[in-house]
Subunit: 316 residues, 2 copies
């Protein structure tokens, strides 16, 4: 079992009602890898600049993530994002985005990355996603994330990329936008018609929903009192989801494994938002993951009563 | 076991992307009673005008609802609401509201209504809710719904009304508004500090969440492909929730009963939105309720795996 992720490696400057951080380690590939690293061997593919130091690299290494394909671009600067959240933490406000080394990124995969069993195409330009996808011809499980920017500006490329993966993960609003269908279940069906066997709608604080032609699954969000920074929650979800599937060698995407993957994705996202950037996930343990998984199970558990026959209703 | 509901009885004219209806039977007390009527004996308290006919009354009677306290106001017209929904069915657009007989409504309760075990104060002016609450001194379980209008215009009265009930049900946005707290779990805690032992946040298509000092419970919404008209979904939820608790004589509000009540509330709301107004609930059967309850249980079920110890992560 091994998993390759391609995506952004970034410095994020973030302000929320609960504090702020300057140039903390972030990016879709980083959040994904640190979550998935609990479950399987992860290879990260992505560019950084000369400002990316040993301390940042060590965060990945200490989680056991393979960093051979983290490409250091001479003279370049690492992708940078500055944003803030108001009290409604569901909405990120972008104040500055500097692509830097990402502007000319051409993914180069080592043999180890290219031959991984599972491939996650993080949220980058769809033609880049397709190029990586074509290099990883042996992958047994492939998944893709994207965003409104690519739906609006490069939809044909994005649709072609989606057609080449088994699992599509998107925010629910972006899933609806992708297929111009406001009903989530119908939007998922329309997205499956583009190619993927599985569609996962990430719903922020409301949790996530999964659709296959046979299965509908929904998990509520964990009801946290302390959400300090939602940045990276979606990528942590994807990391828990795909990391679990790869670690369990569940390449057939059977229903039981998909349901558990949704639970692990939700667990990892719930930890991610408890602190800024990667701070919570960095200090997380397997024991805490298991404990929260049990809390998640309890969160929506009810035992199944008989329907009371009381009242004056006709029984049909 | 018996349950009294006070609230609006209305004619609704509704247009959605899936059709429209003119002057169909509606109102919070009606939607609530038709759902709760599957579980227990329901007494409806509310005013109607001379335009309210035998056919409308028969809809309540055929569900076994007690209509002795449906007050027909001579020369009056029934409360009327006209609204529409765009493709985003989470947002109702009000085009016309005519209080009519509701403008001068003074609740008059028969002995049977006054001595019910459970009381639901539907979304009406909070001073009216308090008057009904004071008349039903023997109620063992009391609950209240409200809306942004009363939070904005009569907050002190509403807070006083909330202090006098065991269960507060609100839309999640309104719960946050009530206590000026964007985090849902914190908002629920702040609302409990006003008096209620139980706070239920209704979350539209995302389901519902329940909070007590000891319990957090969340249930996702049913993933329906066909949502024709969401009008009354919240009241159908409340009807299933409280109707089940009263029918099961669960006046102690123990955790197991509360969890089941959330499931029955969600089941009734999911049926409500499948057709216009009361049309789906009117033709519903106990068998269908039991079937959907099992589907709801399956919707968010996962079996609990060991956390894979794979990957390179330190185990903490």
């Amino acid at each position: 079992m091994s998993l390759t992720v391609v995506g952004s490696i970034a410095f994020d400057s973030v302000r929320t009602p609960f504090g702020e951080r300057d140039r903390m380690l972030g990016g879709s590939a980083v959040h994904f890898a640190l979550a998935a690293g609990f479950f399987t061997r992860v290879h990260v593919v992505g560019p950084v600049g000369e400002d990316f130091g040993a301390a940042e690299m060590e965060v990945l290494v200490e989680r056991g993530v393979e960093t051979a394909d983290v490409e250091r671009v001479a003279g370049g600067e690492t992708f940078f994002w500055r944003g803030h959240y108001e009290h409604d933490m569901n909405l990120a406000h972008t104040d500055d985005t500097r692509l830097n080394v990402f502007a000319d990124f051409e993914p180069k995969l080592s043999d180890a990355s290219r031959t991984a069993d599972t491939l996650f195409l993080g949220n980058i330009q769809p033609d880049l996603q397709r190029r990586v996808r074509s290099e990883c011809g042996a992958a047994r499980l492939t998944a893709l994330d994207s965003m409104n920017l690519w739906i609006e500006t490069t939809r044909p490329s994005l649709v072609a990329a989606i057609a080449e993966v088994e699992v599509l993960l998107l925010n629910d609003a972006e899933l609806r936008m992708l297929v111009s269908e406001p009903n989530l279940a119908r939007a998922a069906a329309a997205a499956m018609a583009l190619g993927p066997r599985v569609v996962v709608a990430k719903r922020g604080e409301y949790g996530a929903a999964l659709f296959t032609p046979e299965v509908q699954f929904a998990i509520p969000g964990y009801l946290l009192e302390d959400v300090r920074d939602p940045t990276g929650a979606g990528d942590s979800f994807a990391g828990g989801f795909l990391g679990y599937l790869d670690g369990a060698a569940a390449y057939e995407l059977d229903e039981d494994h998909l349901r558990r993957a949704m639970a692990f994705g939700s667990v990892m996202a719930s930890f991610n938002v408890e602190d800024f950037g990667i701070e919570r996930i960095r200090r997380l343990t397997h024991e805490e993951i298991g404990e929260r998984l049990r809390e998640f199970k309890r969160l929506s558990h009810f035992d199944e009563p008989q329907v009371p026959a009381g009242g004056g209703a006709r029984t049909g």
